[in-house]
Symmetry: C2
Subunit: 126 residues, 2 copies
Amino acid sequence: MEKRTALQVFEALSSGIRLDVYRCLVVAGRQGMVAGEIAAALDIPPTNLSFHLKNLTQSGLLWVEQEGRFQRYRANIEAMLAVIAYLTENCCAGRPQECVDFRRSQPGLAPLLPPLDCPAEGPGHS
Amino acid sequence: MEKRTALQVFEALSSGIRLDVYRCLVVAGRQGMVAGEIAAALDIPPTNLSFHLKNLTQSGLLWVEQEGRFQRYRANIEAMLAVIAYLTENCCAGRPQECVDFRRSQPGLAPLLPPLDCPAEGPGHS
DNA sequence: TCAACCATTCAATAATATTTGAATCATCAA
DNA sequence: TTGATGATTCAAATATTATTGAATGGTTGA
């Protein structure tokens, strides 16, 4: 993934309105929502919503499809997962055991160690 | 997770410099890096780096520890994972099968379906 | 075609974030 | 204690982003 792409995703989700919109669409799932529904659900003026929907779409977090005179938006779940992978790329210099030790050593209540998809070894880690 | 926390994390990672700093520290792992090392590695003026380190620390993405006259920074991997969980909270209205169908239906090259930790059912899903 | 509707673009304003150099604070080594 | 070093804070200038209302573009149903 290109740095620019990751930045666009983070920038997109750094606005309260856009975060609400994205989460709303994650919940909506396959069905998605048309712009007017989103505006009503979140009580945002259409002009302003358009601004944020455009940002989210350009970042790759949303797909949009025309439906008559409506615009239907859906969340792109994969875009977000790809960004996570980018963030943890080459974590702990590619040494999985150190990665586990490191996470265990952290102050936060983190004894769960959910998935990080640490690379087995070496350079390649998409 | 509170919305405010998630916003802080996204806002933090939406700057090119902060994204570089965080990724740098993810690679460094347990050992972390002192501010001067980061400044040298990324060629950023100390004043400006301080500004960004403060932002990252306040967002919870970094831990800082004093070491003599140095400040050692380490990435907080868990903070990021918690944000992912927040984003996918109640995805597809809590219906795992629809969640799978939805992701399979997406335009992106997404037939892999990496982890999403979809809830088994119902409300509770930290 | 026409009027109504959904949504977007445009231009201006308001609000935030970033960068810089100078000044400050704390620690170390002598 | 003093001078040097690592890093941060402060204040000002710059740059970027968000919001609003008016105007525009495309689609539907009569």
